[in-house]
Amino acid sequence: MVIKDFNFYYQSFQALQNISLKIHPKEIFAIFGPARSGKTTLLKSLNRLTDLIFGTRHTGTIFLDGTDIYDPKLSLTQLRRRIGMVFDLPTPLPMSIFDNVAYGPKLSGITQKKRLAEMVEKALRSAVLWEEVKDRLHTSALRLSGGQQQRLCIARILALEPEVLLLDDPCSGLDPISTASIEETLGKLKKEYTIILVPHNIQQASRVADRAGFFLNGELVEEGPVYQIFTRPRDKRTEDYVTGKFG
């Protein structure tokens, strides 16, 4: 994915300033920084979820595999199936586990039961949730634990076989064991998918990500490989943040 000179405005407030960024395929890229620096906004722009919010504008372009995602000829629903998103709070839909995972495929027109069952199993396996729920696929998803629910959300987007995964602080509010399991899952998923992650903290970024970008007040201050950006940041602001001078 390539982001070029991207500016984003909520009404008159400019949330993102001239972001230019290149995400490499099949890597984990972490977007980190203090609160309110535009990380979620950027993430939501990537699958055009920001279209849902009233009064937003943008300039600049975002490319997925060379296509401008804001091209009016492009099908929005297709785009969102290629770029899946997981939110900071687990958001199971009020249905069974099976129906949750099958939701996406059903919407895109797949109705054969056998095909759906296969897709659901494959997605749940990739999200490392299959073993735990395979015997209760038709019970309510609301009964799962927080960590399981988040993996369910991951399985949900995997069922659509996307190319890019967007994860906005997926481990927020989860206990360390669930967090560890999600991070492990991400490590496995990286082999197939490009992942853009807003980490819970810098430590998570350094555990999980390949490259990272530091965001401050809507600006991309710097980006680079994880080992470099956290140990020898080029910009002073990055250094201050990484060393904890502000937070």
Partner: protein, 279 residues
């Protein structure tokens, strides 16, 4: 001392307020008791299954029961798609704009129109102008117009209560607006919508002024949508006012009250359960 007057005032106020509350409960009990006590004796099985004889002096009230159900069903059938559709449009397809303000204003105004005006309207529009005559159809359409605002506002409340995250999830999985509405929003809003429908049912059962002018007052069993009918409330009114039979009146009234109480109790129970569930 100044102290004392304040507390005396409070004491007096307390007594008055208590009296008010108790008298309200008291009157309600009186009203219900009066009609139910005198009417229950008339409520035997034949009462519900027979047709009235000699203008209602004897027999049962079966056609009126059928009429009530038919009319209410027709009203719900017409009003629910329109009402829910309006709520979906207001909540999902627009934001606060001129159109939504106009629609809401119209709905609020419609809610305030008295039933006799609906009766006049139904009479001149459905019965005469559209040539439907006094019929289940005319009555049903008129009642539908009356309950429309209720359905719209309860449906809106139900849809409003759905967490925004459901929508985000559905859209981020590639759902279109309509798919999101159909597969996520409507299913979740169903309990609230259903409660609104029940409340409207309760209201339709007791509605008299608009019904008399549009559905007629025939005591015969209806044979089609175009048949005129008499509902229980209309029958009750005619019996009472024309002084035809006081026992039959009491009986019909008791049946009417029981039906309305049943529907409203279920509706309120659902309302409380549904609200608590949300919170």
């Amino acid at each position: 001392m100044v102290y004392r007057t304040r507390y005396i005032t409070q004491g007096v106020a307390k007594v008055l307020v208590w009296m008010a509350a108790l008298s309200t409960i008291g009157v309600m009990i009186l009203i219900l008791f009066q009609v139910l006590a005198k009417g229950l004796p008339a409520l035997h099985l034949r009462f519900f299954l027979d047709s009235p004889k000699s203008m209602g002096r004897e027999g049962g009230i079966l056609p009126t029961i059928v009429g009530t159900f038919a009319l209410t069903a027709a009203a719900i059938l017409f009003a629910t798609p329109l009402g829910v559709g309006t709520a979906i449009f207001l909540r999902e397809y627009t934001r606060e704009s001129r159109i939504s303000r106009i629609i809401r204003f119209g709905t609020d105004c419609l809610a305030g129109v008295p039933s006799i005006i609906f009766g006049l309207f139904g009479f001149v529009f459905f019965v005469i102008y559209l040539n439907m005559g006094w019929s289940i159809l005319s009555g049903g359409l008129t009642l539908a117009a009356m309950i429309l605002p209720t359905i719209i506002s309860t449906a809106e409340e139900a849809i409003k209560g759905i967490p925004p995250s459901y929508r985000e999830v559905s859209y981020s999985l590639g759902g279109t607006k309509w798919q999101t509405v159909m597969h996520t929003i409507l299913p979740s809003a169903l309990p609230g919508i259903f409660t609104g429908i029940l409340l409207s049912v309760g209201r339709s059962i007791g509605e008299t002024a608009a019904v008399i002018l549009t559905a007629g007052s025939s005591l015969m069993m209806p044979t089609s949508l175009f048949s005129p009918i008499r509902t229980m409330s209309v029958h009750f009114y005619i019996l009472a006012r024309e002084g035809i039979s006081i026992e039959m009146a009491y009986g019909t009234g008791a049946a009417l009250i029981l039906l309305v109480l049943l529907v409203n109790t279920v509706a309120n129970w659902l309302l409380n359960r549904y609200i608590r569930h949300r919170v």
